[in-house]
């Protein structure tokens, strides 16, 4: 009987220890995002909130509806609510600097997911190596386009630029030119501004294609604009598969579900892939480590090296792309 009592007592103490351990580790995290307009943000939002909830943490979600002032107010509200840490997808690089400063001055650790501040020396910054990823994707379509074109022909290239207040957009633009500049004398480049907005991209792309109807190559700074590109290209006979007359070599960046389907269908030739799950995991690990370690102002840059999925490596690397994983329903 005594043995049984001791066993039960020991079990209860052990269980108590586990419960206490769990509750001690459970944190309240404020997750503030600027919007959920693209597949990338939706998938990132889901990965972060689900993982935090599964680990027993409390998540306070704040959607700023693309308003930087509202996001700053929401972050201040989160701080007032006594959250243990903040993960933010900022509206742009400038507002990210202000937000990181606000959190760090209140001794709240903060991680910036995917869209880095213009000053990356403060806060945990998880970001893709946009320049290298874009360069890899554009390298592929440049080489393919040149191989198919007569040696003396100058090719027309379009780049759809993102919001240049976002360092991601700047990196992608730099990556595009790094690839194009290897064959500088062979390309005329037209820049189309999108401001990360489909309607803006549609209007500007229509104007660009009307002015320059012959397009050989296109790079979009984000995959979410492929449906917009299709709506402009299809009526003009530019939305074709390889081998069909009028096929435009196309590449994007993100690695979303739509891009995966379009690469499989052949309309798109390559896309730069950000490892969404790596970035979400890195953000969570870094913020939780800072909270557990009592570090109020952690400063760290975590870089996602990414890669380019092309028609050449589709067979082997398809399932490394998050959009293809989602497309396969996994």
């Amino acid at each position: 009987m005594r043995s049984l009592t001791s066993t039960v007592t020991a079990s209860l103490i052990a269980l108590g220890g586990i419960v206490a351990g769990t509750s001690a580790n459970a944190a309240t995290i404020c997750f503030a995002f600027q919007d959920l307009e693209t597949e990338f943000w939706v998938a990132g939002h889901k990965a972060i909130t689900t993982t935090l909830a599964d680990q027993g943490h409390t998540v306070l979600e704040r959607n700023a509806n693309e308003d930087a002032n509202k996001q700053l107010e929401q972050i201040k509200d989160c701080i007032a609510q006594g959250v243990d840490g903040i993960i933010v997808i900022p509206q742009d690089g400038e507002s990210a600097v202000t937000i990181v400063k606000e959190a760090q001055s209140a001794d709240v650790p903060i991680a910036v997911f995917n869209r880095p501040p213009t000053d990356t020396s403060k806060g945990i910054v998880v970001v893709a190596d946009n320049k290298t990823i874009a360069e890899q994707a554009v390298d592929y379509i440049v080489e393919e386009a040149l191989a198919k074109a007569p040696a003396d022909k100058t090719l027309n290239a379009i780049i759809i630029v993102g919001d240049l207040g976002d360092p991601n957009a700047v990196g992608r633009k730099d990556g595009f030119y790094a690839a194009i500049d290897k064959h500088k004398d062979r390309f005329n480049v037209v820049e189309v501004a999108s401001k990360w907005d489909a309607a803006t991209a549609l209007a500007n792309l229509e104007a660009a294609v009307t002015a320059n109807p012959e397009v050989d190559l296109l790079f979009t700074s984000s995959d979410f604009l492929f449906p917009t590109i299709r709506s402009v290209f299809e009526p003009r006979g530019l939305w074709k598969k390889p081998g069909e007359d009028g096929h435009v070599m196309m590449a994007g960046l993100d690695g979303d579900k739509t891009a995966c389907q379009l690469i499989k269908d052949g309309y798109v030739d390559a896309t730069g892939v950000q490892d969404l799950y790596f970035e979400a995991d890195a953000s969570l690990k870094a913020i939780l480590a800072a909270i557990d370690g009592g570090e109020a102002q952690p400063n760290e840059v975590v870089q996602d090296p990414g890669f380019a999925l092309t028609q050449a490596n589709l067979g082997t690397d398809e399932m490394k792309m998050w959009g293809c994983v989602l497309l396969a329903g996994k």
Binding site: L72, E73, D77, A80, D107
Partner: protein, 372 residues
């Protein structure tokens, strides 16, 4: 036998309903009801947040109050905020980012890699602010003259101004933000005059050294604007003329009130208030932003003013009402955040409250007529 209408309780309710302080009482009741369920609501940190969100909105809503008092509306305030934000920032930015701004028409003219043309110069910030005010005055004049002299509807005029001036703001920087503003300017949006240290807080896992701001530069600026506006609207002949124009334009004309001049003046006041709001918002976000004042901002401004009790039909406006309206509106936004509602739910509730306020306006007007 006294009728129901003249019973003491009915009289008391009518007095309360028509009181200048009705929305303040409503705000206090709202806080009293929610405080037990939202323990964070009365935390010093949260009170400090509510105050910091209140001041810039109060300045802009003060300008809108003058317009509504004349039975008009100014939809261009957001665009004035945007364009003056960009203009001010391009003049005083300490450095310019070529990677971001080199294609913008202002690059090399008003701003370069060495910063804005007034960066570092003595009195540069004051000159930039004066230019922001001048631009606002010109926009206000444009609106006012179009409405007062050409007889165009205020809604249509300010809608067009909103679109055109908003486009100019975006064109100037090609929609890019202009950061690296000087510290002295940023202080106007976030600087403290009196802050209180409450000691280390141990609610969160990491103890914090928390210093809460209570008396800030935005507070001083907003209170100064509100007091001046209160004096102008409620203690001067001009203020009485504004209300008279809103009550009945024809009667005001017959009475010899310079209606056109009054209407032009209120649009100028509205634009200047928007420009002062622009200083506070730009300094707080530490950047000139061509998208400031976009989205649902106008809903906040007009909503807060109407909640305060300023009539959409004109002829009834007080700055103290606007202050209480802004306070209630900011409290509402804050508490909805503390309830962890989504952004969409927050906007739905805000819209419903503004609708209720508009309905209250109708009821109060009817009750006032019954009692007089």
């Amino acid at each position: 036998m006294p009728s129901a209408a003249s019973s003491p309780s009915r009289k008391w309710a009518s007095r309360l309903f028509l009181s200048d302080y009705f929305v303040l009482y409503l705000s206090l009741a709202y806080v009293a009801i929610l405080a037990p369920f939202l323990p964070t609501l009365l935390n010093p940190a949260n009170i400090s947040n509510v105050l910091s969100n209140l001041w810039p909105l109060l300045v802009v809503a003060t300008g809108q109050t003058f317009i509504l008092a004349t039975a008009g509306i100014d939809l261009s305030q957001g665009a004035v905020i945007a364009v003056t934000s960009v203009i001010g920032a391009m003049l005083i930015a300490v450095t310019g980012n070529a990677a971001v701004l080199s294609n913008a028409p202002i690059w090399g003219v008003f701003i370069g890699e060495q910063g804005g043309i007034l960066a570092g110069s003595i009195g540069g910030i004051a000159v930039a602010i004066a230019i922001m005010m001048l631009v606002a005055i010109l926009i206000g004049l444009l609106n006012g003259v179009s409405v007062a002299v050409f007889g165009m509807p205020a809604f249509m005029v300010t809608l067009v101004t909103m679109i055109v001036i908003g486009a100019v703001a975006i064109y100037l920087s090609l929609s890019e933000n202009i950061s690296n503003l000087p510290d002295a300017f940023v202080t106007l949006g976030k600087g403290d005059l009196v802050s209180v240290y409450f000691g280390a807080q141990d609610e969160s896992k990491i103890p914090r050294k928390i210093i809460y701001s209570f008396v800030t530069y935005p507070m001083v600026i907003a209170v100064a604007v509100a007091v001046a506006a209160h004096y102008l609207l409620n203690r001067t002949v001009f203020g009485r003329q504004v209300v008279a124009v809103g009550s009945n334009k024809r009667n005001a004309e017959v009475s010899g009130i310079p209606v056109r001049r009054v209407i032009v003046a209120v649009f100028v006041i509205s634009a200047v208030c928007a420009a002062i709001g622009s200083i506070l918002y730009s300094a707080r976000l530490e950047a000139g932003r061509p998208t400031l004042g976009a989205g649902t901002f106008l809903l906040d401004v007009i909503g807060a003013t109407v909640i305060g009790g300023t009539s959409l039909f004109g002829g009834k406006a007080k700055i103290i009402w606007t202050f209480f309206g802004v306070l209630f509106f900011v409290l509402l936004s804050n508490t909805l955040n503390l309830m962890n509602l989504s952004a969409f739910q927050v906007d739905m509730v805000k819209g419903a409250v503004i609708l209720a306020a508009a309905l209250l306006d109708v009821l109060r007007t009817r009750l006032t007529r019954e009692l007089t």
